[in-house]
Amino acid sequence: MALQITQSCVNCWACVDVCPNDAIFEDKPHFLIDDGKCTECLGDHSVPQCAAICPIEMAIVNELGEFLNPPGSLTGIPIEKLKEFGLWREAA
């Protein structure tokens, strides 16, 4: 089990610093998670740290492709506004 970073990532480094497993590495066009190292923070923290600090909705997904931070969940911008501004996506 491992999380993944999507194309929404803005390369802000926040997750790299808080990952207890050093599983996140710099890559182009965006950071990636080493699935051999990622434990989804089980045993270390109550929630996956990358998803807890990531400021960008839809940037982190689980193995099922589900967003850990779905559209609107971090900014509070209503879904209809996100759609209007082209900022909304179905699951990855």
Binding site: N11, C12, A14, V16, D17, I56, T75, K81
Partner: protein, 500 residues
């Protein structure tokens, strides 16, 4: 303490990169400070109104990560056309940052201050931030170091900040009430969890206040930045100003919210109104009784380089500094000479007394005037002015109020990337926008002005005036004020012309 509004010994108009002259509030705005603190800020462009005409600053963008979300910020944007704080073009490693700082310091000897301000929160990037400071304090001891923070991690790093000889810290404090905070900060990252709403805001506020106190106890200078958000924290900021002053902040800088839909921020998308220049001025005036207010801030980017109001970042991109060969020991000698010359000049100017308003009838109302100025004189063509300097003339004299930018912060999604800000058909609206920017002003002083803007300004009730080209700004403003006074339009009888 009550601070005098009018400065009688502001520096005379001359030199410097800022287009204004005395900027009115300087240097008396800092007069309540003990001498050792004044000595610390006299060459800091962001803290001393006086210094910003002569000394330059730079930011290095080594701190991308953030630990909170602000409703006026969007981490997605990295556009060269934007000049908002929090936006950068090129992220640097600490090593690259050192190289850049030394190159800039050698090239621009007036650069006295290096700040780390983002694009995220510097203290949410402790490794990158403190490595940069450590290397710099060793290699360039003649550069002042400062850091900006949202305050969440501040208490934790106060000792580290003191260790690196950082004697200036800016904390952004937008509220002291968690209920207000919940409308500004949707969440914080704290104790390995994301904490939303009032609970998160409460922790943030506690940490900010604790950090502020810890810093001032250690003799580290603290400036507080606040973003004025109409309907959210406008009235509340008066209380913030009182509290931060009581805890030892030496300067309060209230900045206007920037919220355009194209920035993709919560406030932008939700159409949160930005404050009008009048609202900002009223609030700054209301807080001014409580402490030194700063009015010359330009809300610069986290990678800005140069004097306030200019950005020479393009001259120092990574590829350019890579081929520069910097002998910093030699540069330090040159820098010392330049710094001493400037400080000597500033000292000499402190004794110069500004002309007072004479012959203005008692009870005359104040008048706002916009000036297209450069180096302290009325020098710019109306259409070329990137910013207008707003002055208020009254029987008490002339005082600087604020800068108002004429350029768009961002040309919108379509213009990103190619540098082509103004598209077809937008030219006219730019003129309209400039006229809207001048709202509340009755006169605009410039060196020259075209026929079309002349007519539009007059239609908007703003008198264009090109008769004082190349004159010192404050003299020109006073001269025009006297001309208006002579017509009898400033007395209560002319109530209909009252300025808002």
């Amino acid at each position: 303490m009550e601070l005098p509004v009018i400065s009688n010994n502001a520096p005379a108009a001359e030199g410097g990169g800022c287009s204004s002259s005395g900027c009115g509030t300087a240097p008396d705005a800092l007069s309540h400070l003990p001498d050792h603190i004044r000595a610390k800020v006299q060459d800091h462009p962001c803290y001393s109104e006086e210094a910003h005409h002569y000394f330059a600053r730079m930011h290095v963008a080594v701190a991308p990560a953030c630990n909170i979300q602000c409703n006026y910020c969007n981490r997605k944007y990295d556009c060269s056309n934007e000049s908002r704080p929090g936006v950068v073009s090129e992220l640097l490693t600490p090593d690259q940052a050192i190289k850049k700082v030394l190159a800039v310091a050698a090239e621009i000897p007036q650069m006295t201050v290096l700040g780390i301000a983002g694009p995220g929160d510097p203290l949410a990037n402790p490794g990158r931030t403190f490595e940069t400071f450590e290397q710099l304090s060793a290699r360039a001891p003649d550069i002042k170091l400062c850091v900006s923070t949202n305050g969440l991690s501040l208490p934790q790093y106060v000792d580290e900040i003191a260790k690196h000889n950082i004697d200036h810290v800016t904390i952004t404090i937008n509220c002291v009430d968690p209920e207000v905070g919940a409308k500004i900060y949707p969440w914080i990252y704290w104790d390995n969890k994301r904490i939303f709403g009032i609970e998160g805001a409460k922790i943030l506020i506690e940490q900010q206040q604790k950090g502020l106190q810890m810093l001032t106890e250690r003799g580290i200078l603290v400036k507080v930045n606040s973003v004025l958000i109409p309907g959210v924290n406008d009235e509340h900021l008066k209380e913030v100003s009182k509290i931060v002053k009581a805890k030892g902040a030496f300067l309060h800088n209230v900045m206007p919210l920037i919220a355009e839909p194209e920035h993709g921020t919560y406030y932008g998308i939700m159409e949160q109104p930005e404050p009008t220049p009048e609202m900002l001025q009223d609030l700054q005036d209301a807080c001014a009784g409580d402490m030194a207010m700063m009015r010359h801030c330009r809300q610069c980017r986290a990678d800005a380089v140069g004097l306030l109001g200019e950005d020479r970042g393009d001259e120092f991109t990574l590829d350019k500094i890579d081929v520069m060969d910097v002998d910093y020991e030699a540069a330090m000698v040159r820098r010392k000479v330049v710094h001493d010359e400037i400080l000597e000049k500033l000292d000499a100017k402190r004794g110069i007394v500004k002309p007072k308003a004479e012959g203005i009838p008692e009870g005359s109302r104040p008048v706002l005037m916009a000036v297209a100025g450069k180096n302290g004189v009325v020098a710019e063509h109306f259409g070329h002015a990137k910013e207008f300097l707003i002055y208020e003339a009254s029987p008490d004299g002339v005082r600087f109020i604020s800068h108002r930018k004429t350029e768009l912060y961002c040309g919108g999604m379509d213009s990103c990337g190619d540098g082509d800000v103004v598209d077809e058909g937008a030219t006219e609206s730019l003129l309209d926008r400039n006229i809207r920017v001048l709202e509340g002003c009755e006169v605009v002083l410039c060196s020259k002005i075209g026929y079309e803007p002349w007519g539009k300004l007059e239609a908007a009730g703003i008198a264009p005036n090109g008769e004082h080209a190349m004159e010192p700004i404050e003299d020109a403003v006073m001269a025009v004020y006297k001309e208006i006074a002579a017509t009898g339009k400033l007395l209560p009888a002319a109530e209909s012309l009252k300025v808002a």
